[in-house]
């Protein structure tokens, strides 16, 4: 047996928590569920190509649906993987009894979730582009580049939301996050005048797919610049992570109920 070891550095701890999460995710059902979800736009792309409706406009439509629906849903699936599954599976005690900062658990899991889902999402959107762009492949490379950046940003943002929901709501984290991202965020994004509060709208603005409506009789949609929307999403990502971290730092998770 070795002597009591030195304190692990925060970077080491984050890496280990992330590695542990990735190892478990690879062997669990989550990756398969995500792959099935990501197969849907590929099928749609192929259908678009076969039916002659493909092209860059079709890809823009796909990208909009990625940012508004698919990425929020895929990242919601990760919410339970933050702390909820550790609480439900009664394994959190193994982590919290180690000499590691409590905040490292949601943060390490966040890094793992974004790495895993981000990689799959980037591969998926690239394939969608290659399938749907057809003869316009080289003409739309700027669009693809923007799409990749937008998808990565969305994965980081919704991953942070998942980290917060997974830390705060340990019983029904997936349901709670789905309600937030699909009902509240999208719902707000449909209301003229206040849609600037919706993260989904800012993500569309970052990739240049936000189309403000100016003919509403009671409120006009605001104009959004990609730069400001990028800063808003980055700031919101940090805020969600801070919420997750501060909650975990001060909360006693009961694993005996």
């Amino acid at each position: 047996m070795p002597n009591p070891p030195a304190m692990p550095s925060t970077a080491t701890v984050l890496r280990q928590i992330a590695a542990l999460s990735l190892r478990r995710a690879r062997r669990g059902r989550l990756v398969r569920v995500i792959l099935v979800a990501l197969a849907l736009p590929l099928v749609a792309s192929a259908f678009g190509l076969i039916s002659g409706r493909g092209g860059l406009d079709f890809f823009e439509m796909l990208l909009t649906n990625y940012l508004r629906y698919l990425i929020p849903v895929v990242m919601s699936l990760q919410a339970t993987a933050t702390l909820a599954e550790e609480v439900q599976g009664r394994t959190l005690g193994y982590l919290f009894s180690r000499p590691i900062p409590r905040f490292s658990v949601p943060l390490g899991k966040y890094l793992a979730n974004v790495t895993l889902s981000g990689t799959l999402l980037l591969a998926s959107i690239t394939l969608c582009y290659l399938i749907s762009a057809g003869s316009e492949i080289f003409a739309g490379l700027d669009l693809l580049l923007g799409a990749l950046g937008g998808v990565l940003l969305a994965a980081c943002y919704f991953g942070a939301v998942a980290a917060a929901f997974g830390s705060l709501v340990t019983n029904h984290a997936l349901t709670a996050m789905l309600i937030y991202v699909l009902a509240i965020d999208i719902g707000v994004g449909l209301i003229p005048g206040v849609k600037v509060v919706s993260a989904g709208i800012h993500l569309l603005a970052v990739v240049g797919l936000y189309r403000p409506h100016t003919n509403s009789f009671f409120a006009k949609d605001p104009q959004l610049s990609p730069g400001i929307s990028l800063a808003v999403i980055a700031g919101m990502t940090v805020l969600w992570l801070i919420l997750a971290i501060s909650w975990v730092k001060s909360t006693e998770y009961r694993t005996d109920r």
């Binding site: 047996m1 002597n3 009591p4 304190m7 590695a19 009664r90 193994y94 180690r98 409590r102």
Partner: protein, 316 residues
């Protein structure tokens, strides 16, 4: 000698329910048993000591320092929880090595320490199998391995013998005694006096979140032996197992609550467990679970608190 664990009027409340209440106790090196019926506050006390819970009131010090959020202190503690929660999708060596790394060992040392710890709990041959394929007793031993992999100075075992077959029980008892002999402070909780007695004669008796007595075990043992002790064995052929032991004088009665369970009553638990171990090994019985309902201990605790009060047993 400076106590490893020192609490002063330590309380932990879950809303209006007290997990532990005004707990004042000192625990030094060697093996100490934390004995009490279910709901006595054993697990809460151990979770407080492991840093999983924050005290509501009072003082808790381990190695002279508070535990909650204190990484330096946590580094010196190993904790084996009571529940069966574990990473079923990892192999034993992956799990234990990951825990070692989180305790500060580098990757190579963690692998080596994990192998050593798994050898120590007699799981060396099964180290590369997913934990999900393990029996309950094997999972219990993996939990023990992760608790000792980083060579802690204080090891907390919460009901470590739960669900283990007689052979695994003997191995775990031997391990706990060895850790005590190595100079570590080992705190073992159980609701079964017989289990604690096999490891140590130093006990802290908990009841309703408070210390009812601490010190030597023998006086308490006498009182508890006045009550019938029950042992439940879940196996495929309970009637055949019963037939192998029922004639022995240590067995007061046998019952069959269902076709997979044998419930034994005894006033000689030592001999009873010995008989059971022999019968199981010789008959090749496959035992799914071996437990001891704590009704006997509960009745003794109620008897002690009702008729004698805490003072009556404090000098036990």
């Amino acid at each position: 000698m400076t106590p490893v664990v020192e609490t002063n009027k330590l309380s932990k409340w879950y809303g209006k329910i007290a997990g532990v209440n005004d707990l004042t106790v000192k625990i030094g090196a060697g093996v100490t048993g934390l004995l009490g019926p279910n709901g006595a506050g054993k697990s809460t006390a151990i979770k407080l000591l492991s840093g999983a819970l924050r005290p509501s009131k009072g003082e808790l010090k381990v190695f002279g320092e508070p535990v909650w959020g204190n990484l330096e202190t946590l580094r010196r503690i190993g904790h084996c929880p009571e529940h069966d929660g574990i990473y079923h999708d990892l192999t034993a060596v992956e799990f234990v090595a990951a825990m070692a790394t989180l305790s500060g060992l580098d990757k190579r040392s963690a692998q080596s320490a994990a192998s050593t710890a798994l050898d120590r709990v007699k799981l060396g041959d099964a180290r590369n199998r997913p934990i999900g394929q393990y029996s309950k007793g094997m999972r219990q031993r993996v939990k023990l391995a992760q608790a000792i992999v980083h060579d802690p100075d204080l090891v907390l075992f919460d009901e470590p013998l739960t669900g283990c077959d007689p052979v695994a029980r003997a191995q775990i008892v031997a391990l706990i005694k060895a850790l005590g002999k190595e100079g570590k402070a080992v705190l073992v909780s159980s609701h079964i006096l017989h289990e604690i007695e096999a490891m140590t004669d130093q006990i802290v008796l908990l009841y309703k979140g408070q210390v009812l007595a601490d010190g030597n075990i023998y006086r308490i043992r006498e009182m508890i032996d006045e009550h019938p002790h029950k042992v439940s064995v879940r196996c495929e052929h309970p009637r055949q197992l019963a037939a192998a032991i029922v004639e022995q004088s240590a067995i007061s009665a046998v019952h069959f609550p269902d076709d997979q369970e044998l419930l034994i009553e005894t006033r000689m638990p030592d001999q009873c467990y010995g008989l059971l171990a022999s019968a199981i090994v010789e008959g090749g019985f496959s035992v799914a679970a071996l437990t001891s309902p704590d009704n006997n201990l509960q009745s003794v605790f109620e008897y002690l608190t009702r008729n004698r009060g805490p003072e009556g047993v404090a000098d036990a």
